[in-house]
């Protein structure tokens, strides 16, 4: 089994094929989209492939240590240029192929007009722990 992180971006990823801001959808389209994602997570829970998932707020801040006795440096909220992460899901699957398949499925969540968004999701493998037994 291998764990993968699926990252959804607010900004930073290439534009989706069906790229319409969510507030331009109809309320029913929004419901259908949310339902799709919930169903997806529920199905992965049943197959034992779901680990965790969370949505993130759009405002983030970069923070850096600025020397002894000084407050940390921040770049302030609402930075417009950063690559921003909207949320993540962690899955635990048998193979890279299965991870790709699931990421593709999640990217097909319906959007405006009930058509798939085709949004770009980032798929990142977890680095595993050092194995105790070498094969």
């Amino acid at each position: 089994m291998a764990k993968y992180l699926l990252l959804k971006h607010y900004r930073g990823a290439p534009a989706a094929v069906n790229d319409v801001p969510m507030d331009r959808w109809t309320p029913e389209e929004i419901s259908a989209h949310i339902q799709y994602m919930n169903d997806f997570a529920a199905r992965l829970e049943k197959t034992g492939e779901f680990v965790d998932g969370q949505a993130l707020a759009p405002e983030g801040t970069f923070v850096r240590y600025d020397g002894e006795g000084r407050p940390p440096v921040t770049d302030g909220p609402f930075a417009e240029t950063k690559d921003l992460i909207a949320g993540w899901m962690v899955i635990d699957v048998d193979s890279y192929e299965r991870a790709l398949e699931l990421a593709g499925e999640l990217s097909a969540a319906p959007g405006a007009g009930g058509k798939p968004i085709h949004e770009w999701l980032e798929l990142r493998p977890f680095l595993g722990a050092h194995p105790t037994i070498t094969e």
Partner: protein
């Protein structure tokens, strides 16, 4: 095995041990061991006096634990001090536990955890699940809290206001896994109300009961938010509302108004209205004025602006809103709502979308996005 009975007895047993001179942390460990023993042996041999049994076993465990060369002298002193057997003392130690768990030296999260453990009798595992943190994390938080209050004497009454704040924090968490924290907070506040004669304790209990009565209708089956005006009032728990209102009226009659009573009064006015349209907004604005005097909280003034918008029209609401800092949480959402009611759909849609980006949780974000989408799609279709 009656787990509720055990949980109910936990705080008074713990209180007795601490008053006899046991350190809080050691007493807590001893009580937990006695509870484990009770779960093991009671099914076969139920005790005649459950509380007396727990006190005896816990005290014995405490003495065992402190039995060491360095603790010998202290233990002998404690044995000397041990009160003669007899009926449980009339002094109510549970109340002291409430104050101890809300001690000002504890952070809010520690105070909440310690209250649930010591007064609520919940296990560390249950508390961890309710707060969605790993059990090891919660165990650490609780033992740090115990160390912080260790050595604090049981001789001074604490501040009721701090205890109420802790209980309110528990109530607002409200996860429902193994433990429903909202229901747990109500149970604890009831216990407190039975022991403390203070109108604000009644105020908080009334507030919790009335809010809790609407809980099932606040979210749709798919988890989405249902605003107050659209909730199915037929599904509100009228028994809980009636009890809350009765408790509130008795408290208000004592003429010592506090913020929880004022909040409960507002909740009661909402609960009283047969339909959202029949809500007595004028009176609600008056209560918000009282509340603003009591707390001077910007959130109260924001809520007041909503009530003014209902009582005197959206323009009046927007005027009240203009006086407030627009970086307040939910300020944008309120502005969007008032602009929509004022007929300015374009501004409202833009503000709803902006409010959605600032929303503090997913349910609220989705709700606000839907509001923006509703207005935008209505504008497109003729």
């Amino acid at each position: 095995m009656d787990e509720t009975l055990l949980r109910g007895l936990t705080p008074s047993v713990l209180g007795i041990l601490v008053r006899r001179g046991a350190d809080f942390a050691a007493a807590e460990d001893a009580v937990q061991e006695a509870l484990v023993e009770a779960v093991r042996t009671w099914p076969a041999e139920p005790p005649r006096d459950a509380k007396g049994w727990l006190v005896t076993v816990a005290w014995r465990r405490f003495l065992d634990a402190t039995r060491s060369d360095t603790a010998r002298r202290r233990r002998e002193d404690l044995l000397d001090e041990e009160p003669p057997p007899g009926p449980a003392p009339a002094v109510d130690d549970t109340l002291q536990l409430y104050f101890l768990c809300a001690h000002p030296s504890l952070t809010p999260s520690s105070a909440v955890a310690l209250t649930l453990r010591a007064v609520g009798g919940l296990t560390t595992r249950q508390i961890a699940q309710a707060y969605l943190v790993p059990e090891a994390t919660m165990a650490q938080r609780i033992s740090r809290a115990k160390r912080t209050v260790s050595g604090v004497r049981f001789d001074r009454p604490g501040d009721v206001a701090t205890v109420l704040r802790v209980l309110y924090l528990v109530f607002n968490e409200g996860y429902s896994g193994d433990v429903d924290l909202a229901a747990e907070a109500i149970r604890l506040t009831r216990q407190l109300a039975a022991r403390v004669d203070h109108p604000e304790v009644s105020g908080l209990l009334a507030l919790m009961l009335i809010h809790h009565a609407r809980r099932a209708t606040r979210t749709a089956p798919d988890g989405s938010l249902v605003p107050l005006a659209e909730q199915d009032r037929g599904r509100w728990d009228t028994g809980a509302i009636a009890e809350g209102v009765r408790i509130l009226q008795a408290a208000l009659a004592r003429d010592r108004l506090g913020e929880f009573q004022a909040q409960a009064a507002i909740a009661a006015l909402h609960a009283d209205a047969p339909t959202a349209g029949q809500t007595d907004w004028v009176q609600i604005v008056e209560w918000y004025d009282e509340l603003a005097l009591l707390t001077d909280s910007p959130v109260v003034r924001l809520n007041r602006a909503v009530a003014v918008g209902e009582a005197d029209g959206p323009r009046a609401g927007l005027a009240a809103l203009a006086a407030l800092d627009d970086t307040l949480p939910r300020h944008t959402a309120v502005a969007a709502y008032l602009h929509e009611r004022d007929g300015d759909v374009v501004t409202a849609a833009r503000l709803y979308a902006e409010a959605a980006r600032k929303a503090p949780n997913l349910a609220e974000r989705d709700h606000l996005t839907r509001q923006a989408a509703r207005l935008n799609s209505a504008r497109r279709s003729p």
